[in-house]
């Protein structure tokens, strides 16, 4: 990921800013330009999502990609936020064997990656068991 792309997505990654359609009240994350339900009559506005949700599904990563070597094994989950959108997030601060489908989580601000030792640090959301 390049620095400009990371920078453009800071509101989404730091603060879970998605969009809400003023026509059908659907909440979307990540943000879209057009409401998939209302199409051209939809009216999307920035919307800050609530930071609570539930684990819909998860996996435990034992063979991590570059940059996550020191963290394996860790749980990677699909989290459904209270307002409906689902997102993929790492479950932090826990033994991955404790994680269960249906667990309540809160979204927290963590280091997600970095462009090597001398590059920019990517911060963003992870989920923590409540």
């Amino acid at each position: 990921m390049g620095v400009p792309r990371f920078w453009r997505e800071i509101p989404n990654r730091y603060n879970l800013i998605g969009v809400k359609c003023k026509n059908c009240n659907r909440v979307l994350f990540p943000p879209r330009f057009i409401c998939p339900g209302c199409r051209r009559v939809g009216k999307l506005e920035p919307h800050k999502l609530k930071d609570r949700g539930k684990i819909v599904s998860f996996t435990v990563v034992h063979v991590p990609p570059n940059g996550f070597e020191g963290q394996a094994p860790y749980a990677l989950a699909i989290v459904e936020l209270e307002e409906g959108p689902r997102l993929t997030a790492q479950i932090t601060d826990c033994d991955p064997n404790q994680v269960k489908i249906g667990d309540d989580v809160e979204m927290v601000f963590r280091r997600v990656g970095q462009e090597g030792e001398d590059g920019v640090i990517y911060y963003g959301y992870k989920a923590r068991l409540v």
Partner: protein, 348 residues
């Protein structure tokens, strides 16, 4: 002085390393270390935590307790000796993460363990001068201790944040006054590009910690015409458990006044977070009308002393965010090898 604390918040990482584990690796006598330092364990940051993430979570808790619109925060100062970037302010990351951007001033402070309280003084001055409605001061660290160095027993991670504003209905405590004492005393330092600090051993005590803390505290008491009996609580910087209790005695404070804010025994020395987490622990239990003395210490060296009077708003604001003990009591114990991995002493 017409400024007070509008909100406060802390964050302490979850992992804990016991003195026994460090002593086992280096062949030290754990009981002797525990007696000497008055310390049982220290907090350790997770692999995805750094000073910025700790500062953000503490800041979010302060905003929740303060009940303020983050856009009204006109300044954010993050004090730390472990900023994730050498050049790129942690304060900008915090400001973005609490949605205080873009109309504010922000900067990082460095002054060993007292950089956070230096930020409080800056915010006090700016609020008093009507330059802004609220200012936020944060002290946060992921402290480094070289493997085998006595510092390894204590160097911990954690942070505290305060929102400073004018006194009034929103203030959960007023700040009655502040006083500082600063000299050039090389008791502890870290040179550019070096991963670990060095220190002067016993020299960090008498001419450094004790001289600066007692001098700043005494000057403040003289200025406000108060004595130790006027305070319900006293919070001193906590590099270990022994120093704050000893300095309290020298200043005429009892251990009962100090113990409610003495967290080092369970979480270690959180450096810039230390005094601010101590103050938060006291605010978690103090009653309106009680007075708190807070004195930080930063090596190099200097101390900032504050007199804080708790107000009625504490009763409604206290429960709006997690308390210090909520974080202290949720620790997960790890062994030295896990610690070595988390602190990247061992890298795959």
């Amino acid at each position: 002085m017409d400024v007070g604390i509008i909100g406060y918040g802390v964050y302490i990482p979850r992992y804990r390393l016991k003195v026994e584990e460090v002593a086992r690796v280096w062949g030290d006598d754990a009981e002797r270390v525990k007696r000497g330092l008055l310390l049982e364990e220290k907090s350790v940051p997770g692999p995805d935590e750094d000073t910025a993430t700790i500062a953000v979570e503490a800041a979010c808790n302060a905003v929740k307790r303060g009940g303020v619109d983050p856009k009204e925060i006109g300044a954010i100062y993050v004090g730390s000796e472990s900023h994730p970037y050498a050049v790129k302010p942690t304060a900008t990351i915090v400001a973005e993460a609490i949605e205080a951007t873009p109309n504010l001033t922000a900067a990082d402070y460095e002054f060993a363990c007292k950089a956070g309280t230096a930020g409080i003084q800056t915010c006090m001055g700016m609020v008093e001068a009507r330059m802004m409605k609220y200012g936020m001061a944060i002290g946060a660290d992921t402290a480094q201790g070289a493997p085998g160095d006595p510092l390894e027993y204590t160097a911990a991670a954690g942070g505290g944040a305060l929102i400073i504003g004018k006194n009034g209905a929103g203030a959960l405590a007023t700040i009655e006054g502040t006083c500082s004492y600063t000299t050039d005393t090389p008791d502890f330092w870290r040179r550019e590009m070096q991963p670990y600090p060095r220190h002067g051993g016993r020299f960090t005590g008498k001419p450094a910690y004790f001289k600066h803390v007692t001098s700043a505290a005494s000057a403040l008491l003289r200025q406000l015409q108060l004595t130790s009996r006027d305070f319900a609580y006293a919070v001193f910087h906590q590099p270990n458990g022994k120093f704050p209790l000893q300095v309290a005695k020298e200043l005429g404070f009892s251990s009962e006044q100090v113990l409610p804010g003495l967290l080092v025994v369970k979480i270690g020395n959180t450096y810039s977070g230390s005094t601010m987490i101590g103050l938060a622990a006291v605010l978690d239990q103090a009653k309106p009308g009680e007075r708190i003395l807070m004195v930080s210490y930063g090596s190099g060296a200097g101390s900032d002393a504050f007199s804080v009077m708790v107000q009625d708003a504490i009763e409604t604001k206290r429960d709006m965010a997690p308390k210090v003990l909520d974080y202290v009591n949720r620790g997960i114990n790890i062994d030295y090898s896990t610690y070595a991995r988390l602190r990247r002493l061992l890298v795959r």
